[in-house]
Protein backbone atom coordinates (compact mmCIF):
# COMPACT_ATOMS: atom_id res chain seq x y z
CA UNK A 1 0.00 0.00 0.00
CA UNK A 2 2.22 2.85 -1.23
CA UNK A 3 -0.49 5.50 -0.63
CA UNK A 4 -0.87 4.31 2.94
CA UNK A 5 2.91 4.45 3.35
CA UNK A 6 3.10 8.02 2.09
CA UNK A 7 0.43 9.01 4.57
CA UNK A 8 2.28 7.39 7.46
CA UNK A 9 5.46 9.15 6.44
CA UNK A 10 3.63 12.48 6.48
CA UNK A 11 2.16 11.66 9.89
CA UNK A 12 5.59 10.80 11.26
CA UNK A 13 7.12 13.95 9.76
CA UNK A 14 4.52 16.15 11.43
CA UNK A 15 5.04 14.26 14.67
CA UNK A 16 8.79 14.94 14.51
CA UNK A 17 8.19 18.62 13.74
CA UNK A 18 5.96 18.88 16.82
CA UNK A 19 8.60 17.17 18.94
CA UNK A 20 11.31 19.46 17.65
CA UNK A 21 9.42 22.65 18.48
CA UNK A 22 8.32 21.44 21.92
CA UNK A 23 11.78 20.17 22.86
CA UNK A 24 13.28 23.46 21.75
CA UNK A 25 10.99 25.27 24.20
CA UNK A 26 11.86 22.66 26.84
CA UNK A 27 15.55 23.38 26.34
CA UNK A 28 15.18 27.17 26.28
CA UNK A 29 13.13 27.52 29.49
CA UNK A 30 15.32 25.19 31.55
CA UNK A 31 18.89 25.05 30.24
CA UNK A 32 18.60 28.40 28.47
CA UNK A 33 16.79 30.68 30.93
CA UNK A 34 17.53 28.70 34.10
CA UNK A 35 21.25 28.07 33.59
CA UNK A 36 23.02 29.63 30.58
CA UNK A 37 21.35 33.05 30.65
CA UNK A 38 20.55 33.17 34.34
CA UNK A 39 22.79 36.15 35.14
CA UNK A 40 21.44 38.29 32.31
CA UNK A 41 17.82 37.44 33.21
CA UNK A 42 18.44 38.15 36.89
CA UNK A 43 18.71 41.84 35.92
CA UNK A 44 14.99 41.72 35.16
CA UNK A 45 12.54 41.50 38.04
CA UNK A 46 9.23 39.71 38.27
CA UNK A 47 7.66 41.00 41.48
CA UNK A 48 9.89 39.79 44.30
CA UNK A 49 11.75 37.38 42.01
CA UNK A 50 14.83 37.81 39.87
CA UNK A 51 13.68 36.38 36.55
CA UNK A 52 16.53 33.89 36.01
CA UNK A 53 16.16 32.51 39.53
CA UNK A 54 12.39 32.25 39.01
CA UNK A 55 12.84 30.23 35.82
CA UNK A 56 15.32 27.92 37.52
CA UNK A 57 13.13 27.21 40.56
CA UNK A 58 9.55 27.54 39.36
CA UNK A 59 9.02 28.92 35.86
CA UNK A 60 10.58 26.00 34.01
CA UNK A 61 8.38 23.55 35.93
CA UNK A 62 5.21 25.43 34.95
CA UNK A 63 6.45 25.46 31.36
CA UNK A 64 7.07 21.68 31.43
CA UNK A 65 3.47 21.05 32.50
CA UNK A 66 2.12 23.27 29.74
CA UNK A 67 4.37 21.59 27.16
CA UNK A 68 2.99 18.13 27.88
CA UNK A 69 -0.61 19.30 27.59
CA UNK A 70 0.13 21.12 24.31
CA UNK A 71 1.75 17.92 23.05
CA UNK A 72 -1.28 15.82 24.00
CA UNK A 73 -3.70 18.20 22.26
CA UNK A 74 -1.53 18.44 19.15
CA UNK A 75 -1.00 14.69 18.86
CA UNK A 76 -4.67 13.89 19.41
CA UNK A 77 -5.60 16.20 16.55
CA UNK A 78 -2.84 14.75 14.33
CA UNK A 79 -4.10 11.24 15.09
CA UNK A 80 -7.58 12.24 13.94
CA UNK A 81 -6.30 14.11 10.90
CA UNK A 82 -4.40 11.05 9.67
CA UNK A 83 -7.03 8.63 10.85
CA UNK A 84 -4.74 6.64 13.13
CA UNK A 85 -6.54 7.36 16.40
CA UNK A 86 -7.90 4.64 18.63
CA UNK A 87 -11.62 5.40 18.35
Amino acid sequence: MPAQNEKMKAYWRKNLQTLFVLLLVWFVVSFGFGILLVDQLNEIRLGGFKLGFWFAQQGSIYAFVVLIFVYVARMNSLDREFDVDEE
Partner: protein
Protein backbone atom coordinates in the same frame (compact mmCIF):
# COMPACT_ATOMS: atom_id res chain seq x y z
CA UNK B 1 -3.11 15.08 72.71
CA UNK B 2 0.64 14.48 72.65
CA UNK B 3 2.58 14.51 69.35
CA UNK B 4 3.45 10.83 69.70
CA UNK B 5 -0.20 9.85 70.24
CA UNK B 6 -1.25 11.80 67.16
CA UNK B 7 1.57 10.22 65.16
CA UNK B 8 0.59 6.68 66.10
CA UNK B 9 -3.06 7.47 65.41
CA UNK B 10 -2.57 9.06 61.96
CA UNK B 11 0.09 6.62 60.83
CA UNK B 12 -2.10 3.74 62.04
CA UNK B 13 -5.13 5.03 60.13
CA UNK B 14 -3.19 5.54 56.89
CA UNK B 15 -1.59 2.08 57.13
CA UNK B 16 -4.99 0.52 57.67
CA UNK B 17 -6.16 2.25 54.49
CA UNK B 18 -3.20 1.00 52.45
CA UNK B 19 -3.64 -2.57 53.65
CA UNK B 20 -7.39 -2.41 53.06
CA UNK B 21 -6.77 -1.29 49.49
CA UNK B 22 -4.19 -4.04 49.00
CA UNK B 23 -6.70 -6.70 50.03
CA UNK B 24 -9.47 -5.20 47.93
CA UNK B 25 -7.33 -5.04 44.80
CA UNK B 26 -5.13 -8.12 45.07
CA UNK B 27 -3.87 -9.48 41.78
CA UNK B 28 -5.20 -12.72 40.35
CA UNK B 29 -3.33 -12.91 37.04
CA UNK B 30 0.15 -12.03 35.79
CA UNK B 31 -1.39 -9.21 33.80
CA UNK B 32 -2.90 -7.73 36.95
CA UNK B 33 0.33 -8.32 38.80
CA UNK B 34 2.57 -6.67 36.19
CA UNK B 35 0.40 -3.92 34.74
CA UNK B 36 -2.69 -3.77 36.96
CA UNK B 37 -4.77 -5.41 34.22
CA UNK B 38 -4.00 -2.51 31.88
CA UNK B 39 -7.17 -0.71 32.94
CA UNK B 40 -6.01 2.13 35.19
CA UNK B 41 -7.51 5.56 34.40
CA UNK B 42 -4.95 8.17 33.31
CA UNK B 43 -5.76 10.43 36.26
CA UNK B 44 -5.28 7.63 38.81
CA UNK B 45 -2.14 6.56 36.95
CA UNK B 46 -0.82 10.11 37.12
CA UNK B 47 -1.33 10.21 40.89
CA UNK B 48 0.23 6.79 41.35
CA UNK B 49 3.21 7.80 39.21
CA UNK B 50 3.67 10.93 41.30
CA UNK B 51 3.68 8.92 44.55
CA UNK B 52 5.90 6.27 43.00
CA UNK B 53 8.32 8.96 41.91
CA UNK B 54 8.42 11.14 45.04
CA UNK B 55 10.47 9.33 47.64
CA UNK B 56 11.44 10.12 51.20
CA UNK B 57 14.24 12.16 49.66
CA UNK B 58 11.83 14.41 47.74
CA UNK B 59 9.52 14.75 50.70
CA UNK B 60 11.98 15.32 53.52
CA UNK B 61 15.38 16.21 52.12
CA UNK B 62 14.86 18.18 48.93
CA UNK B 63 13.61 21.43 50.50
CA UNK B 64 16.46 21.23 53.01
CA UNK B 65 19.08 20.78 50.30
CA UNK B 66 17.71 23.82 48.46
CA UNK B 67 17.74 25.83 51.71
CA UNK B 68 21.48 25.51 51.94
CA UNK B 69 22.28 25.37 48.22
CA UNK B 70 20.01 28.25 47.14
CA UNK B 71 20.11 28.69 43.37
CA UNK B 72 22.30 25.57 42.95
CA UNK B 73 19.40 23.49 44.32
CA UNK B 74 17.61 24.24 41.05
CA UNK B 75 19.31 21.22 39.42
CA UNK B 76 16.96 18.97 41.40
CA UNK B 77 13.87 21.04 40.68
CA UNK B 78 14.45 21.25 36.93
CA UNK B 79 16.11 17.87 36.59
CA UNK B 80 13.49 15.79 38.35
CA UNK B 81 10.57 17.47 36.57
CA UNK B 82 12.04 18.11 33.11
CA UNK B 83 12.50 14.37 32.63
CA UNK B 84 8.73 13.99 32.44
CA UNK B 85 8.66 16.07 29.26
CA UNK B 86 11.07 13.58 27.68
CA UNK B 87 8.99 10.69 29.01
CA UNK B 88 5.74 12.08 27.66
CA UNK B 89 7.08 13.10 24.26
CA UNK B 90 9.68 10.49 23.46
CA UNK B 91 8.93 7.30 25.39
CA UNK B 92 5.53 6.74 27.01
CA UNK B 93 3.22 6.60 23.96
CA UNK B 94 5.51 4.32 21.95
CA UNK B 95 6.26 1.94 24.77
CA UNK B 96 2.55 1.74 25.49
CA UNK B 97 1.84 0.92 21.86
CA UNK B 98 4.56 -1.73 21.96
CA UNK B 99 2.36 -3.26 24.63
CA UNK B 100 4.58 -5.53 26.70
CA UNK B 101 5.24 -5.40 30.40
CA UNK B 102 8.79 -4.23 31.00
CA UNK B 103 11.68 -2.21 29.62
CA UNK B 104 13.91 -5.28 29.07
CA UNK B 105 10.94 -6.79 27.16
CA UNK B 106 11.14 -3.88 24.76
CA UNK B 107 14.92 -3.98 24.49
CA UNK B 108 14.86 -7.75 23.92
CA UNK B 109 12.23 -7.58 21.14
CA UNK B 110 13.43 -4.43 19.44
CA UNK B 111 17.01 -5.66 19.33
CA UNK B 112 15.98 -9.28 18.63
CA UNK B 113 18.52 -10.58 21.07
CA UNK B 114 18.56 -12.37 24.40
CA UNK B 115 21.94 -10.82 25.14
CA UNK B 116 20.52 -7.31 24.78
CA UNK B 117 17.64 -8.30 27.05
CA UNK B 118 19.94 -9.73 29.71
CA UNK B 119 22.12 -6.60 29.63
CA UNK B 120 18.92 -4.56 30.09
CA UNK B 121 17.80 -6.77 32.99
CA UNK B 122 21.15 -6.31 34.68
CA UNK B 123 20.86 -2.53 34.26
CA UNK B 124 17.30 -2.56 35.63
CA UNK B 125 18.23 -4.68 38.64
CA UNK B 126 21.31 -2.62 39.37
CA UNK B 127 19.43 0.68 39.20
CA UNK B 128 16.49 -0.60 41.24
CA UNK B 129 18.61 -2.17 43.95
CA UNK B 130 20.82 0.85 44.52
CA UNK B 131 17.69 2.95 44.69
CA UNK B 132 15.67 0.65 46.94
CA UNK B 133 18.48 0.12 49.44
CA UNK B 134 18.55 3.88 50.00
CA UNK B 135 14.77 3.95 50.30
CA UNK B 136 14.65 1.22 52.95
CA UNK B 137 17.20 3.11 55.01
CA UNK B 138 14.99 6.17 54.58
CA UNK B 139 11.94 4.20 55.68
CA UNK B 140 13.85 3.03 58.77
CA UNK B 141 14.96 6.54 59.69
CA UNK B 142 11.48 7.99 59.22
CA UNK B 143 9.87 5.26 61.30
CA UNK B 144 12.41 5.46 64.07
CA UNK B 145 12.23 9.23 64.32
CA UNK B 146 8.47 9.45 64.45
CA UNK B 147 7.51 6.26 66.23
CA UNK B 148 10.51 6.51 68.54
CA UNK B 149 11.70 2.96 67.88
CA UNK B 150 15.25 1.85 66.94
CA UNK B 151 16.11 2.19 63.21
CA UNK B 152 16.30 -1.60 62.83
CA UNK B 153 12.73 -1.94 64.04
CA UNK B 154 11.70 0.86 61.73
CA UNK B 155 13.12 -1.04 58.76
CA UNK B 156 11.38 -4.24 59.86
CA UNK B 157 7.99 -2.52 60.20
CA UNK B 158 8.47 -0.94 56.78
CA UNK B 159 9.41 -4.30 55.28
CA UNK B 160 6.27 -5.95 56.67
CA UNK B 161 3.98 -3.26 55.24
CA UNK B 162 5.65 -3.20 51.81
CA UNK B 163 5.78 -6.99 51.73
CA UNK B 164 2.09 -7.20 52.40
CA UNK B 165 0.80 -5.04 49.63
CA UNK B 166 3.51 -5.40 46.99
CA UNK B 167 3.63 -9.17 47.19
CA UNK B 168 -0.12 -9.63 47.49
CA UNK B 169 -1.37 -6.95 45.19
CA UNK B 170 1.34 -6.61 42.55
CA UNK B 171 0.98 -3.64 40.26
CA UNK B 172 -2.76 -3.43 40.84
CA UNK B 173 -2.44 -3.25 44.61
CA UNK B 174 0.46 -0.82 44.36
CA UNK B 175 -1.33 1.48 41.93
CA UNK B 176 -4.36 2.07 44.11
CA UNK B 177 -2.32 2.21 47.31
CA UNK B 178 -0.13 4.84 45.69
CA UNK B 179 -3.17 6.94 44.81
CA UNK B 180 -4.04 7.00 48.53
CA UNK B 181 -0.42 7.66 49.44
CA UNK B 182 -0.23 10.60 47.08
CA UNK B 183 -3.24 12.23 48.74
CA UNK B 184 -1.73 11.74 52.20
CA UNK B 185 1.70 13.04 51.28
CA UNK B 186 0.63 16.12 49.35
CA UNK B 187 -1.83 17.17 52.07
CA UNK B 188 0.86 16.70 54.70
CA UNK B 189 3.33 18.76 52.68
CA UNK B 190 1.00 21.64 51.87
CA UNK B 191 -0.59 22.34 55.26
CA UNK B 192 2.53 23.63 57.03
CA UNK B 193 3.76 25.34 53.84
CA UNK B 194 0.57 27.36 53.52
CA UNK B 195 0.69 28.44 57.15
CA UNK B 196 4.34 29.51 57.04
CA UNK B 197 3.72 31.41 53.82
CA UNK B 198 0.83 33.25 55.50
CA UNK B 199 2.92 34.12 58.54
CA UNK B 200 5.94 35.38 56.61
CA UNK B 201 4.47 37.02 53.54
CA UNK B 202 0.70 37.19 54.10
CA UNK B 203 0.16 35.14 50.94
CA UNK B 204 -1.58 31.77 51.43
CA UNK B 205 -0.08 30.30 48.21
CA UNK B 206 3.52 29.28 48.98
CA UNK B 207 4.54 29.43 45.30
CA UNK B 208 3.66 33.14 45.26
CA UNK B 209 4.77 33.72 48.84
CA UNK B 210 8.33 32.93 47.74
CA UNK B 211 8.23 36.11 45.67
CA UNK B 212 6.41 38.04 48.40
CA UNK B 213 7.71 40.55 50.91
CA UNK B 214 8.46 40.16 54.60
CA UNK B 215 7.08 42.41 57.34
CA UNK B 216 9.38 45.38 56.60
CA UNK B 217 8.35 45.46 52.92
CA UNK B 218 11.56 44.07 51.35
CA UNK B 219 11.09 41.06 49.08
CA UNK B 220 11.91 37.86 50.98
CA UNK B 221 14.56 36.73 48.48
CA UNK B 222 16.39 40.08 48.55
CA UNK B 223 16.34 40.06 52.32
CA UNK B 224 17.73 36.53 52.30
CA UNK B 225 20.50 37.46 49.84
CA UNK B 226 21.46 40.38 52.08
CA UNK B 227 21.45 38.46 55.34
CA UNK B 228 23.40 35.51 53.94
CA UNK B 229 26.13 37.60 52.31
CA UNK B 230 26.47 39.59 55.52
CA UNK B 231 27.12 36.35 57.41
CA UNK B 232 29.79 35.37 54.89
CA UNK B 233 27.73 32.90 52.82
CA UNK B 234 27.07 33.15 49.07
CA UNK B 235 23.88 34.98 48.08
CA UNK B 236 20.80 32.74 48.02
CA UNK B 237 19.81 33.52 44.45
CA UNK B 238 23.22 33.11 42.83
CA UNK B 239 25.18 30.00 42.04
CA UNK B 240 28.41 28.51 43.28
CA UNK B 241 28.57 25.55 40.91
CA UNK B 242 30.07 26.11 37.46
CA UNK B 243 27.67 26.53 34.54
CA UNK B 244 29.00 23.34 32.92
CA UNK B 245 28.38 21.33 36.05
CA UNK B 246 24.89 22.78 36.59
CA UNK B 247 24.10 21.92 32.98
CA UNK B 248 25.41 18.36 33.14
CA UNK B 249 23.81 17.49 36.48
CA UNK B 250 20.45 18.82 35.34
CA UNK B 251 20.71 16.85 32.09
CA UNK B 252 21.72 13.65 33.90
CA UNK B 253 18.77 13.96 36.29
CA UNK B 254 16.30 14.68 33.47
CA UNK B 255 17.44 11.84 31.26
CA UNK B 256 17.83 9.54 34.25
CA UNK B 257 14.24 10.24 35.28
CA UNK B 258 13.09 9.30 31.80
CA UNK B 259 15.16 6.12 31.96
CA UNK B 260 14.15 4.84 35.41
CA UNK B 261 12.45 1.48 34.94
CA UNK B 262 9.96 1.88 37.80
CA UNK B 263 8.67 5.11 36.29
CA UNK B 264 8.55 3.86 32.68
CA UNK B 265 6.66 0.73 33.67
CA UNK B 266 3.78 2.84 34.99
CA UNK B 267 2.88 3.90 31.45
CA UNK B 268 2.14 0.30 30.53
CA UNK B 269 -0.82 0.26 32.90
CA UNK B 270 -3.22 2.58 31.02
CA UNK B 271 -5.63 1.34 28.33
CA UNK B 272 -4.64 3.47 25.32
CA UNK B 273 -1.71 5.34 23.73
CA UNK B 274 -3.68 8.53 24.20
CA UNK B 275 -3.92 7.78 27.91
CA UNK B 276 -0.18 7.16 28.16
CA UNK B 277 0.47 10.65 26.78
CA UNK B 278 -1.96 12.45 29.06
CA UNK B 279 -1.10 10.45 32.18
CA UNK B 280 2.49 11.71 31.98
CA UNK B 281 0.94 15.19 31.98
CA UNK B 282 -1.21 14.43 35.04
CA UNK B 283 1.79 12.90 36.79
CA UNK B 284 3.79 16.07 36.25
CA UNK B 285 0.94 18.27 37.52
CA UNK B 286 0.79 16.26 40.74
CA UNK B 287 4.57 16.31 41.06
CA UNK B 288 4.76 20.03 40.26
CA UNK B 289 2.46 20.86 43.20
CA UNK B 290 5.13 19.57 45.56
CA UNK B 291 8.14 20.64 43.49
CA UNK B 292 7.06 24.28 43.22
CA UNK B 293 6.25 24.36 46.96
CA UNK B 294 9.66 22.96 47.92
CA UNK B 295 11.67 26.09 46.96
CA UNK B 296 9.24 28.15 49.05
CA UNK B 297 9.65 25.88 52.11
CA UNK B 298 13.40 26.04 51.54
CA UNK B 299 13.59 29.83 51.53
CA UNK B 300 11.11 30.23 54.40
CA UNK B 301 13.01 27.66 56.44
CA UNK B 302 16.44 29.21 56.13
CA UNK B 303 15.01 32.70 56.65
CA UNK B 304 13.18 31.66 59.81
CA UNK B 305 16.21 29.83 61.14
CA UNK B 306 18.55 32.77 60.72
CA UNK B 307 15.97 35.32 61.80
CA UNK B 308 15.16 33.49 65.03
CA UNK B 309 18.69 32.53 66.05
CA UNK B 310 21.30 34.92 64.76
CA UNK B 311 22.74 37.13 67.47
CA UNK B 312 19.99 36.01 69.87
CA UNK B 313 20.94 34.99 73.37
CA UNK B 314 20.52 31.31 74.12
CA UNK B 315 17.61 31.87 76.48
CA UNK B 316 15.69 33.75 73.77
CA UNK B 317 15.67 30.87 71.28
CA UNK B 318 12.25 29.86 69.95
CA UNK B 319 10.84 26.65 71.32
CA UNK B 320 11.30 24.59 68.14
CA UNK B 321 15.06 25.14 68.22
CA UNK B 322 15.31 23.66 71.70
CA UNK B 323 12.93 20.78 70.84
CA UNK B 324 15.06 19.75 67.86
CA UNK B 325 18.27 20.18 69.82
CA UNK B 326 17.26 17.06 71.70
CA UNK B 327 17.43 15.04 68.47
CA UNK B 328 20.89 16.39 67.61
CA UNK B 329 19.55 17.68 64.30
CA UNK B 330 20.26 21.17 65.56
CA UNK B 331 23.43 21.75 67.55
CA UNK B 332 24.24 24.90 69.43
CA UNK B 333 27.74 25.50 70.76
CA UNK B 334 28.55 28.88 72.25
CA UNK B 335 32.22 28.82 71.26
CA UNK B 336 33.17 32.33 72.32
CA UNK B 337 31.10 32.15 75.50
CA UNK B 338 29.24 35.42 74.98
CA UNK B 339 25.85 33.81 75.57
CA UNK B 340 24.73 34.62 72.02
CA UNK B 341 24.51 32.50 68.91
CA UNK B 342 26.50 33.31 65.80
CA UNK B 343 25.53 31.64 62.55
CA UNK B 344 28.34 32.45 60.11
CA UNK B 345 30.08 30.88 57.15
CA UNK B 346 33.42 30.61 58.96
CA UNK B 347 33.38 27.09 60.43
CA UNK B 348 35.70 27.94 63.31
CA UNK B 349 33.41 30.71 64.56
CA UNK B 350 30.04 29.22 63.62
CA UNK B 351 28.00 28.26 66.68
CA UNK B 352 24.95 26.72 65.10
CA UNK B 353 24.83 23.58 62.99
CA UNK B 354 21.61 22.54 61.32
CA UNK B 355 20.75 19.25 59.67
CA UNK B 356 19.14 19.94 56.30
CA UNK B 357 16.25 17.55 57.02
CA UNK B 358 14.98 20.04 59.61
CA UNK B 359 13.35 22.28 57.02
CA UNK B 360 10.39 20.03 56.33
CA UNK B 361 10.28 18.07 59.57
CA UNK B 362 10.25 21.10 61.85
CA UNK B 363 7.98 23.17 59.62
CA UNK B 364 4.80 22.50 61.68
CA UNK B 365 6.56 23.66 64.83
CA UNK B 366 8.06 26.73 63.18
CA UNK B 367 4.54 27.75 62.19
CA UNK B 368 3.27 26.86 65.69
CA UNK B 369 0.72 24.47 64.25
CA UNK B 370 -1.21 22.01 66.44
CA UNK B 371 0.28 18.60 67.28
CA UNK B 372 -1.85 16.71 64.78
CA UNK B 373 -0.03 18.43 61.90
CA UNK B 374 3.26 16.94 63.12
CA UNK B 375 1.60 13.52 63.07
CA UNK B 376 0.36 14.28 59.59
CA UNK B 377 3.83 15.15 58.29
CA UNK B 378 5.03 11.83 59.76
CA UNK B 379 2.30 9.96 57.88
CA UNK B 380 3.16 11.87 54.69
CA UNK B 381 6.87 11.07 54.93
CA UNK B 382 6.10 7.40 55.41
CA UNK B 383 3.69 7.40 52.47
CA UNK B 384 6.44 8.89 50.29
CA UNK B 385 9.04 6.35 51.36
CA UNK B 386 6.77 3.30 51.18
CA UNK B 387 5.26 4.07 47.78
CA UNK B 388 8.65 4.37 46.12
CA UNK B 389 10.02 1.26 47.80
CA UNK B 390 7.00 -0.73 46.64
CA UNK B 391 7.29 0.48 43.03
CA UNK B 392 10.96 -0.51 42.92
CA UNK B 393 10.31 -3.92 44.45
CA UNK B 394 7.79 -4.60 41.74
CA UNK B 395 10.33 -3.82 39.01
CA UNK B 396 12.79 -6.20 40.66
CA UNK B 397 10.27 -9.01 40.94
CA UNK B 398 9.06 -8.52 37.35
CA UNK B 399 12.61 -8.50 36.06
CA UNK B 400 13.36 -11.77 37.77
CA UNK B 401 10.16 -13.64 36.96
CA UNK B 402 9.45 -12.33 33.49
CA UNK B 403 12.68 -11.10 31.99
CA UNK B 404 14.88 -13.87 33.35
CA UNK B 405 12.73 -16.93 34.04
CA UNK B 406 10.24 -16.55 31.23
CA UNK B 407 12.96 -15.77 28.69
CA UNK B 408 14.84 -18.95 29.36
CA UNK B 409 11.86 -21.15 30.30
CA UNK B 410 9.05 -19.85 28.09
CA UNK B 411 6.84 -22.88 28.80
CA UNK B 412 6.12 -22.11 32.50
CA UNK B 413 2.43 -21.71 33.36
CA UNK B 414 0.98 -18.35 34.33
CA UNK B 415 0.31 -19.61 37.84
CA UNK B 416 3.91 -20.63 38.27
CA UNK B 417 5.15 -17.35 36.82
CA UNK B 418 3.02 -15.44 39.30
CA UNK B 419 4.42 -17.53 42.14
CA UNK B 420 7.97 -16.78 41.01
CA UNK B 421 7.13 -13.07 40.77
CA UNK B 422 5.82 -13.12 44.35
CA UNK B 423 8.81 -15.09 45.60
CA UNK B 424 11.16 -12.65 43.89
CA UNK B 425 9.31 -9.72 45.47
CA UNK B 426 9.63 -11.39 48.86
CA UNK B 427 13.33 -12.02 48.30
CA UNK B 428 13.82 -8.43 47.20
CA UNK B 429 12.05 -7.13 50.34
CA UNK B 430 14.37 -9.21 52.53
CA UNK B 431 17.49 -8.10 50.68
CA UNK B 432 16.40 -4.46 50.74
CA UNK B 433 15.62 -4.81 54.45
CA UNK B 434 19.08 -6.23 55.05
CA UNK B 435 20.65 -3.21 53.36
CA UNK B 436 18.34 -0.96 55.35
CA UNK B 437 19.56 -2.43 58.65
CA UNK B 438 23.22 -2.76 57.60
CA UNK B 439 23.67 0.07 55.14
CA UNK B 440 26.84 -0.18 53.12
CA UNK B 441 28.42 3.21 53.83
CA UNK B 442 27.93 4.39 50.29
CA UNK B 443 24.15 4.00 49.98
CA UNK B 444 23.35 7.67 50.35
CA UNK B 445 25.86 8.63 47.65
CA UNK B 446 24.86 5.85 45.34
CA UNK B 447 21.18 6.76 45.13
CA UNK B 448 21.91 9.87 43.12
CA UNK B 449 24.00 7.74 40.79
CA UNK B 450 21.11 5.42 40.02
CA UNK B 451 20.05 8.34 37.83
CA UNK B 452 23.38 8.60 36.10
CA UNK B 453 23.29 4.90 35.35
CA UNK B 454 19.72 5.03 34.05
CA UNK B 455 20.73 7.96 31.84
CA UNK B 456 23.82 6.24 30.51
CA UNK B 457 22.31 2.81 29.91
CA UNK B 458 18.58 2.81 29.07
CA UNK B 459 17.65 6.16 27.67
CA UNK B 460 19.69 6.11 24.43
CA UNK B 461 18.75 2.58 23.38
CA UNK B 462 15.05 3.15 23.97
CA UNK B 463 15.06 6.44 22.06
CA UNK B 464 17.10 5.01 19.21
CA UNK B 465 14.91 1.92 19.17
CA UNK B 466 11.86 4.10 18.52
CA UNK B 467 13.23 6.88 16.35
CA UNK B 468 15.61 4.92 14.15
CA UNK B 469 14.90 1.64 12.40
CA UNK B 470 18.53 1.27 11.37
CA UNK B 471 19.98 0.74 14.85
CA UNK B 472 20.74 -2.96 15.36
CA UNK B 473 21.53 -5.26 18.24
CA UNK B 474 25.29 -4.90 17.92
CA UNK B 475 24.93 -1.13 18.29
CA UNK B 476 22.53 -1.33 21.23
CA UNK B 477 24.56 -3.84 23.21
CA UNK B 478 27.89 -2.09 22.74
CA UNK B 479 26.23 1.30 23.45
CA UNK B 480 24.66 0.13 26.72
CA UNK B 481 27.88 -1.48 27.91
CA UNK B 482 29.99 1.56 26.99
CA UNK B 483 27.64 3.97 28.80
CA UNK B 484 27.40 1.80 31.87
CA UNK B 485 31.10 0.95 32.19
CA UNK B 486 32.20 4.55 31.63
CA UNK B 487 29.72 6.00 34.13
CA UNK B 488 30.32 3.38 36.81
CA UNK B 489 34.07 3.68 36.34
CA UNK B 490 34.11 7.46 36.72
CA UNK B 491 31.88 7.35 39.80
CA UNK B 492 33.79 4.53 41.47
CA UNK B 493 37.09 6.26 40.83
CA UNK B 494 36.10 9.58 42.37
CA UNK B 495 33.87 8.26 45.13
CA UNK B 496 35.61 5.10 46.30
CA UNK B 497 39.08 4.62 44.87
CA UNK B 498 40.42 8.10 45.25
CA UNK B 499 37.85 10.32 46.94
CA UNK B 500 40.51 12.88 47.92
CA UNK B 501 40.86 13.87 44.24
CA UNK B 502 37.11 14.52 43.90
CA UNK B 503 37.44 18.24 43.20
CA UNK B 504 36.59 20.42 40.23
CA UNK B 505 40.26 20.63 39.17
CA UNK B 506 40.49 16.88 38.55
CA UNK B 507 37.10 16.34 36.91
CA UNK B 508 36.99 15.69 33.16
CA UNK B 509 35.69 18.83 31.47
CA UNK B 510 34.66 20.07 34.93
CA UNK B 511 31.85 17.53 35.24
CA UNK B 512 31.26 16.18 38.76
CA UNK B 513 30.41 12.48 39.32
CA UNK B 514 26.77 13.57 39.83
CA UNK B 515 26.59 14.87 36.27
CA UNK B 516 28.77 12.30 34.52
CA UNK B 517 25.74 10.24 33.43
CA UNK B 518 25.22 12.90 30.74
CA UNK B 519 28.59 12.15 29.19
CA UNK B 520 27.93 8.42 29.54
CA UNK B 521 24.67 8.94 27.67
CA UNK B 522 26.37 10.83 24.83
CA UNK B 523 29.02 8.09 24.53
CA UNK B 524 26.26 5.48 24.44
CA UNK B 525 24.58 7.35 21.55
CA UNK B 526 27.81 7.70 19.59
CA UNK B 527 28.92 4.07 20.01
CA UNK B 528 25.40 2.87 19.24
CA UNK B 529 25.25 4.77 15.92
CA UNK B 530 28.80 3.98 14.82
CA UNK B 531 28.64 0.26 15.54
CA UNK B 532 25.25 0.01 13.83
CA UNK B 533 26.58 1.70 10.72
CA UNK B 534 29.28 -0.94 10.22
CA UNK B 535 27.12 -3.98 11.01
CA UNK B 536 24.07 -5.40 9.15
CA UNK B 537 20.66 -3.68 9.39
CA UNK B 538 18.03 -5.27 11.65
CA UNK B 539 15.73 -7.89 10.05
CA UNK B 540 12.67 -6.67 8.14
CA UNK B 541 10.13 -7.74 10.79
CA UNK B 542 11.93 -5.62 13.39
CA UNK B 543 11.94 -2.63 11.03
CA UNK B 544 8.21 -3.18 10.50
CA UNK B 545 7.69 -3.28 14.26
CA UNK B 546 9.42 0.09 14.60
CA UNK B 547 7.04 1.54 12.00
CA UNK B 548 4.13 -0.09 13.81
CA UNK B 549 4.77 1.38 17.28
CA UNK B 550 4.82 4.89 15.82
CA UNK B 551 1.11 4.67 15.04
CA UNK B 552 -1.34 4.73 17.92
CA UNK B 553 -4.11 2.66 16.29
CA UNK B 554 -4.30 -0.95 17.38
CA UNK B 555 -2.79 -0.53 20.82
CA UNK B 556 -5.68 -2.36 22.46
CA UNK B 557 -4.87 -5.52 20.60
CA UNK B 558 -1.16 -5.40 21.25
CA UNK B 559 -1.78 -5.69 24.96
CA UNK B 560 -3.21 -9.24 24.87
CA UNK B 561 -0.59 -11.75 24.05
Amino acid sequence: MEILTWTYLLVGITFAIYIGIAIWSRAGSTKEFYVAGGGVSPLANGMATAADWMSAASFISMAGIISFAGYDGSVYLMGWTGGYVLLALLLAPYLRKFGKFTVPDFVGDRYYSKTAKVVAVICALFISFTYVAGQMRGVGIVFSRYLEVPIEWGVVIGMCIVFFYAVLGGMKGITYTQVAQYCVLIFAYMVPAIFISMQLTGNPIPQLGLGGSVADGTPLLDKLDGVLTELGFAAYTSGRKSITDMFMITLALMVGTAGLPHVIVRFFTVPRVKDARISAGYALVFIAILYTTAPAIAAFGIYNTIDSTSEKSISQLPEWISTWQKTDLIKVDDKNGDGKIQYVADQTANELSIDRDIMVLASPEIAELPNWVVGLVAAGAMAAALSTAAGLLLVISTSVSRDLFKTFKPEISEKKELRIARLAAAGAVLLAGYFGVNPPGFVAQVVAFAFGLAAASFFPVIIMGIFSSRINKEGAISGMITGLVFTIGYIIFFKFISPETNTADNWWFGVSPEGIGSIGMILNFIVCVLVSRFTPAPPQDVQDMVQEIRIPRGAGKAQDH
